[in-house]
C-alpha cells in the first residue's frame, strides 16, 4: 500500500515540475483575472465562467493522464518497471492515484477561483456546483486514467497515446454526433456517459446509474489493458531494435 502511495505522489510531483503545469497555472491565472473583470462589470455570471474553466480543466486532465501512463515509454523507465517487484495492478492504481491527485489539485484551483468570483461579484455561492464539480473531477480522473492505460498498452508509445486519448475524448464524440446527425437528432451530452454525468452533477442530480456506467467502462478498460500487458512485447517500443 505504501508503495502505491509512493508511486502516486512521485508521479504527481514529477508532473507538477513539468512545463505543461506552468502553462496550465498561467492559463488559470488568465481565466481568473478574466473572471474577476467579468464580475466587476454588469454581466456577472460566476457559474458560467466556472463551467468554461472546468471544461478546459477536463481537456488538460486528458493530457496529464496520457503522460502518467505512457511517459515511461519515452524516458525508458518501462524497462525498470518491467523488472521491478511491483505488480501491474498496484502500479496502475499508483498511477491512477497520481491522476486523481492532479485532478483534485485542479479542482481546488477551479473552486478557489469560483469562490473568489462569487465574492467579488456579490453573487450567491452555489455549493452543489462546487462539490459536484469536485466529485466529477475525481470520477473523470479514474475514467480517463483507464482510457490512457489501455491506449498506452496498445501503442507502447507516449506520443501515440497522447494523440489517441485526445481523439477518443475530444474528437470522436463530436465526429460521432455529426455523422449520426445526418439521419437522427443527437444530443451529445445525453449520448456521452461522461458528459451526461458532468451535466447532472452540476445540477446536483447525481444518479447511481451514471456513476456505475462510468466506473463499469473504466474497469473494462483496465481489464483489457491488463490482458494486453500480459502479452506485451517491448521490442515494439520505438527505437529499441535500432539501438542494438
Amino acid at each position: 500500500m505504501d508503495r502505491i502511495l509512493f508511486v502516486g505522489i512521485f508521479k504527481f510531483k514529477e508532473n507538477l515540475k513539468q512545463k505543461s503545469t506552468l502553462y496550465f497555472l498561467l492559463f488559470s491565472l488568465f481565466v481568473f483575472v478574466c473572471g474577476i473583470v467579468r464580475q466587476l462589470g454588469v454581466n456577472k455570471n460566476a457559474s458560467g465562467t466556472f463551467l468554461m474553466f472546468v471544461v478546459l480543466c477536463n481537456i488538460y486532465i486528458n493530457f496529464v493522464a496520457a503522460y502518467m501512463f505512457a511517459n515511461e515509454f519515452s524516458n525508458g523507465m518501462y524497462k525498470q518497471l518491467a523488472t521491478s517487484n511491483m505488480n501491474s495492478f498496484s502500479f496502475i492504481i499508483g498511477r491512477t492515484l497520481s491522476v486523481v491527485m492532479t485532478s483534485a489539485f485542479m479542482g481546488f484551483i477551479a473552486i478557489g477561483c469560483y469562490a473568489v468570483w462569487t465574492i467579488v461579484g456579490k453573487e450567491k455561492v452555489n455549493v452543489s456546483d462546487m462539490t459536484g464539480t469536485f466529485i466529477f473531477f475525481i470520477i473523470l480522473a479514474f475514467y480517463i486514467s483507464q482510457v490512457s492505460y489501455l491506449l498506452s498498452e496498445l501503442f507502447l508509445n507516449y506520443k501515440s497515446t497522447v494523440i489517441f486519448v485526445a481523439l477518443y475524448t475530444l474528437v470522436f464524440p463530436y465526429a460521432y454526433v455529426m455523422v449520426k446527425s445526418l439521419w437522427k437528432s443527437v444530443d451529445l451530452i445525453e449520448k456521452m456517459p461522461i458528459w451526461r454525468l458532468r451535466a447532472r452533477v452540476r445540477n446536483a442530480d447525481i444518479r447511481v446509474a451514471d456513476v456505475t456506467v462510468i466506473l463499469g467502462i473504466s474497469l473494462v478498460y483496465m481489464l483489457l489493458g491488463l490482458i494486453i500487458e500480459q502479452k506485451s512485447d517491448f521490442s515494439r517500443v520505438n527505437g529499441d531494435q535500432q539501438d542494438e
Binding site: 508503495r3 509512493f6 508511486v7 512521485f10 510531483k13 514529477e14 515540475k17 513539468q18 515511461e72 524516458n75 525508458g76 523507465m77 518501462y78 524497462k79 525498470q80 518497471l81 518491467a82 523488472t83 521491478s84 517487484n85 511491483m86 505488480n87 501491474s88 502479452k231 506485451s232 512485447d233 517491448f234 521490442s235 529499441d240 531494435q241 539501438d243 542494438e244
Partner: protein, 310 residues
C-alpha cells in the same frame, strides 16, 4: 534480510546456476535475431556477451529481463520460466541500451523510486552505490541535467538497487570518460563477488571485459559461436618455445603429457611455470636446444577476431 543474505552467501559458495538460457530463438518478421542460444549465469560470476552490432546481444538481454515474451525456448530463473514469474517475484536488475529515468526528478529521487519498486528500499544502499560510482555530489541535480556518463552511472545504480539475483548491463561504460570506467568495473566485481549476483554484461570494449569477466559468450548473427571460460584460461598459461627442433620438442612434450602444438615457426605449449622449470632440463638432456621462451597470453581481442572470423 539476514536469511536472504545467508542464502545468497550459500549460493556463491555453491556457484549455483541462477539463470539458464535454453535454446532461445527469436525472429523479427523474417529476420532471425537469435537462433538456438543457450548459456548459463552463475551466482558470483560475471559473464561477458560480445559480438558485432546486430548480433542479438540486446535482444537476449531483453528476453532475460522479460521485456520480450514472444520467443521459443526457455529462460529459467531459479528453475522457473521468466514468462511465468509474477512481477512481484522478479529478481533482475537491468540497464539495457539507454538508462531510463524521470527527467524532472533528481538523481536521488530516481534512485529512491527504483529502490521502492524493488521492494527493498535502503537509504544506505543508495548512498553506498552513489559513493562507489562518484555520483554523491550530483544526486540533488535533476536527472535531465546529467551528462551522458552521469546518466549511465545513475542507470547502473538503479539496476543494482534492491540487490537482485541477476544483473544485466548492456554497454555499461557507454558515454563514460576513462576516469569513470574503473569505478564501473569495480562495482561490477563488487556485485558479483561480494553481493553474489549473477552478472551478464555486454560491451565493445574488450579490454574491460577481459578484466572483469569470468566467462565470455561470443555471439554473431544470433548464434552463440563459442563460450570461453577466461578465468580458467588465465590459470592455464600458454608458453611459446623457440627452437630449431620443433618436431622433436613437440614429440617430447607430448610424451610428458603436455598439450603442445607447432604454430608457424614456434611451439606453443599449455604448461604452468613451475612445470616448465622441471621440463626444461629434460628437453636439454634429449639434445634439444631451446633458443628462447615466453609466456603467451591470448588477448580477448585476438580471441574475438579469431572466433568472429575477422
Amino acid at each position: 534480510m539476514l536469511e536472504n543474505y545467508t542464502t545468497r552467501k550459500d549460493s556463491i559458495m555453491k556457484e549455483e546456476k541462477i539463470l539458464q538460457v535454453k535454446n532461445v530463438s527469436k525472429k523479427y518478421k523474417n529476420e532471425v535475431a537469435l537462433e538456438d542460444v543457450s548459456f548459463n549465469l552463475t551466482s558470483g560470476k560475471v559473464v561477458g556477451l560480445v559480438g558485432p552490432n546486430g548480433a542479438g546481444k540486446s535482444t537476449i538481454m531483453k528476453i532475460i529481463c522479460g521485456l520480450i515474451s514472444n520467443y521459443t525456448g526457455q529462460v529459467l530463473l531459479n528453475g522457473k520460466d521468466v514468462r511465468k514469474i509474477k512481477s512481484n517475484k522478479k529478481e533482475i536488475g537491468c540497464l539495457i541500451e539507454s538508462p531510463g529515468f524521470y527527467p524532472e526528478s533528481t538523481g536521488l529521487e530516481n534512485m529512491k523510486f527504483a529502490a521502492k519498486l524493488s521492494g527493498n528500499y535502503s537509504k544506505n544502499q543508495i548512498d553506498e552505490y552513489a559513493k562507489k560510482l562518484n555520483l554523491t555530489k550530483d544526486l540533488k541535480k535533476k536527472a535531465k541535467n546529467y551528462s551522458l556518463g552521469m546518466k549511465q552511472k545513475l542507470g547502473i545504480c538503479m539496476a543494482l538497487l534492491g540487490k537482485p539475483q541477476v544483473l544485466i548491463l548492456d554497454e555499461p561504460t557507454n558515454g563514460l570518460d576513462p576516469s569513470a570506467t574503473p569505478a564501473v568495473r569495480e562495482i561490477i566485481k563488487y556485485a558479483a563477488q561480494t553481493l553474489g549476483m549473477a552478472v551478464l554484461v555486454s560491451s565493445h570494449i574488450l579490454s574491460e571485459l577481459e578484466i572483469v569477466c569470468d566467462e565470455i559468450v561470443f555471439i554473431k548473427k544470433g548464434h552463440v559461436l563459442e563460450e570461453n571460460n577466461i578465468r580458467e584460461e588465465r590459470q592455464l598459461p600458454k608458453y611459446v618455445i623457440e627452437t630449431d627442433q620443433l618436431k622433436e620438442t613437440e614429440t617430447e612434450l607430448k610424451k610428458l603429457g603436455f598439450n603442445a602444438k607447432i604454430i608457424e615457426n614456434h611451439l606453443e605449449v599449455d604448461i604452468k611455470e613451475e612445470e616448465l622449470q622441471k621440463v626444461l632440463p629434460q628437453l636439454i638432456s634429449k639434445g634439444i636446444f631451446v633458443k628462447g621462451m615466453y609466456h603467451k597470453k591470448e588477448k580477448l581481442e585476438e580471441k574475438y577476431n579469431k572466433v568472429m572470423g575477422a
